[in-house]
């Protein structure tokens, strides 16, 4: 780890000012990803701004009937929050399928959004990586790419976003609240993370002086028909090969609205609203689920070791939708 100076932010404005005056500074909260990256010499901030004592650690109701998750609430406290468990069980399930209990006790909601890819070439400073060093080249495209993306890739980067929480947040159409030098603004979760394109070094659309203050969940929680299916190499404490967040609103056997987001397959939580809409007004049958799965994966492209993910994702989509649709009979 490189040496750095340390300061503790007393309020959000102070934290934003610190970040704006020193571009080599970084905010730190849970630290579970940043400290790891610093130990690997991948992240080399010259100054850390400790934001853990800012008043962003509450979960509260919003005026429109939704729920506001403070940026500094831990992943564990969010997943086990009574309101989240009752109204947004999909989010609770997704969070609890990621990391370990220790890490979930440390990691914050804001940090979960900002965690970086676990592409092993990104972590290995002895290999070229466009995300770590723009222009250096990508070692994964022709390398060992079993964990890598099959959707939305570019010729510069095929890394995936590793979060489970963000997959559920995308399905719930969460909104990220941020604060910066030029004021406060909101960013829909769908627009928060970026595809790699020609700038894989930039993961998100958060400004350099901006800080996440909260994540807002809209009122609709899909608590009756949801599923989070995570397929991985071992049963627990591993990143997804493919994950699927499925949420349905039904009327009898007919689907009124479907939300479907994939994790482990792209540089951001992957949602295809056109394909989703194929389910509107349709019966919840395997055949209809298969049509959507084919539509979502139509443009998928494998890179050898990860080509299996295309078929795996289709099957995971069908299974997750089946689980979501059948929930009432299972209960």
């Amino acid at each position: 780890m490189n040496s750095f100076s340390y300061t503790r932010a007393g309020d959000v404005a102070g934290a934003v000012n610190e970040a704006a005056t020193n571009r080599a500074a970084k905010f730190i909260a849970g630290g579970t990803n940043l400290i790891d990256l610093m130990k690997e010499n991948v992240a080399r901030p010259t100054r850390l701004i400790d934001i853990t004592r800012l008043p962003l650690n509450r979960i509260e109701n919003t005026h429109d009937g939704g729920l506001r998750l403070g940026a500094l609430v831990t992943n564990a406290d969010t997943a086990y929050n009574e309101q989240v468990e009752k109204r947004y069980p999909l989010l609770s399930r997704a969070i609890l399928s990621g990391a370990s209990p220790q890490l979930r006790n440390m990691a914050t909601n804001g940090g979960n959004l900002l965690q970086r890819t676990r592409c092993y070439y990104f972590y290995d400073t002895a290999t070229p990586c466009n995300k770590r060093e723009p222009g250096a080249g990508c070692s994964a495209i022709e390398g060992f790419n079993r964990m890598h993306a099959v959707l939305g890739t570019s010729d510069k980067c095929i890394a995936v976003h590793p979060s489970d929480m963000c997959v559920a947040l995308a399905a719930l159409e969460a909104v990220v609240r941020v604060s910066g030098k030029s004021g406060d603004r909101t960013i829909p979760l769908a627009d928060f993370h970026r595809l790699p394109g020609s700038t894989p070094d930039i993961d998100t659309n958060l400004g350099e002086d901006e800080i996440i203050t909260a994540i807002d969940l809209p009122p609709k929680g899909f608590a009756d028909h949801y599923a989070y299916l995570k397929v991985r190499d071992r049963k627990s404490y591993a990143f997804a090969l493919v994950s699927v967040a499925a949420a349905l609103e039904t009327s009898g056997d007919t689907i009124k609205e479907a939300r479907l987001v994939l994790g482990g397959v792209a540089h951001k939580p992957w949602r295809n609203t056109e394909a989703e809409a194929l389910l509107n007004g349709k019966a919840a049958t395997r055949v209809n689920f298969q049509v959507v799965a084919e539509a979502i994966m139509r443009d998928a492209k494998g890179f050898g070791h990860n080509t299996f993910k295309i078929e795996l994702a289709k099957r995971a989509i069908v299974r997750a939708l089946k689980h979501a649709a059948q929930m009432e009979t299972r209960r």
Binding site: N2, S5, Y6, I28, D36, P101
Partner: protein, 164 residues
């Protein structure tokens, strides 16, 4: 903004107040081992993957290797050295002995602190739930069946003493 060039911090470790001067990049794990000579907490992978460094901070289990000590200024820390009451072992320690829940013992302090955190959280009752919620602690010797048995025993002991 408060700048702290001296980096003097206070931790309450196993019930005793400890002050130390540290660099900002000193992890809680290194502070415990190198500054306070509490070497019970182990450095395994040093990347938050193995759980050998698990300690309780304000009652919650965390990976001390991914925690900067300076950020925990004022916190209450419990390590494996702080669990026993004098010569009387904590029920979790006793249960690990009774169930032969280790071989080399390197992961054991982290396993026991993690299991203590698991009981504080109150989310696990079945063996399956214990296995899932102990997934952050790796045992190279593969003592998992006995670790789960030990945790089940300790849960019963602790539950009984809470009722008494």
């Amino acid at each position: 903004m408060k700048n702290e060039p001296e980096n003097r911090i206070t931790l309450r470790v196993n019930g005793a107040e400890k002050q130390m001067n540290i660099a900002p990049w000193t992890t809680l794990l290194d502070a415990l081992r190198d500054y306070l000579d509490l070497t019970g907490t182990k450095k395994g992978c040093d990347h938050g993957q193995c759980g050998a460094c698990t300690v309780l901070v304000n009652g919650k289990r965390i990976n001390s290797c991914l925690t900067l000590a300076i950020m925990k200024d004022g916190a209450d820390v419990t390590t494996i050295e702080g669990l026993a009451d004098g010569e009387t072992l904590d029920p979790m320690q006793q249960a690990f002995i009774d169930n032969d829940a280790f071989q080399c013992g390197y992961c054991t302090p982290g396993q026991i602190c993690s299991a203590r955190g698991l009981i504080n959280e109150g989310r696990a009752t079945t063996a399956d739930e214990i296995r899932e919620l102990m997934s952050g602690n790796i045992c190279r010797c593969g003592a998992y069946p006995n670790i789960v048995a030990a945790i089940q025993q300790a849960m019963q002991t602790i539950e009984r003493s809470a009722k008494a």
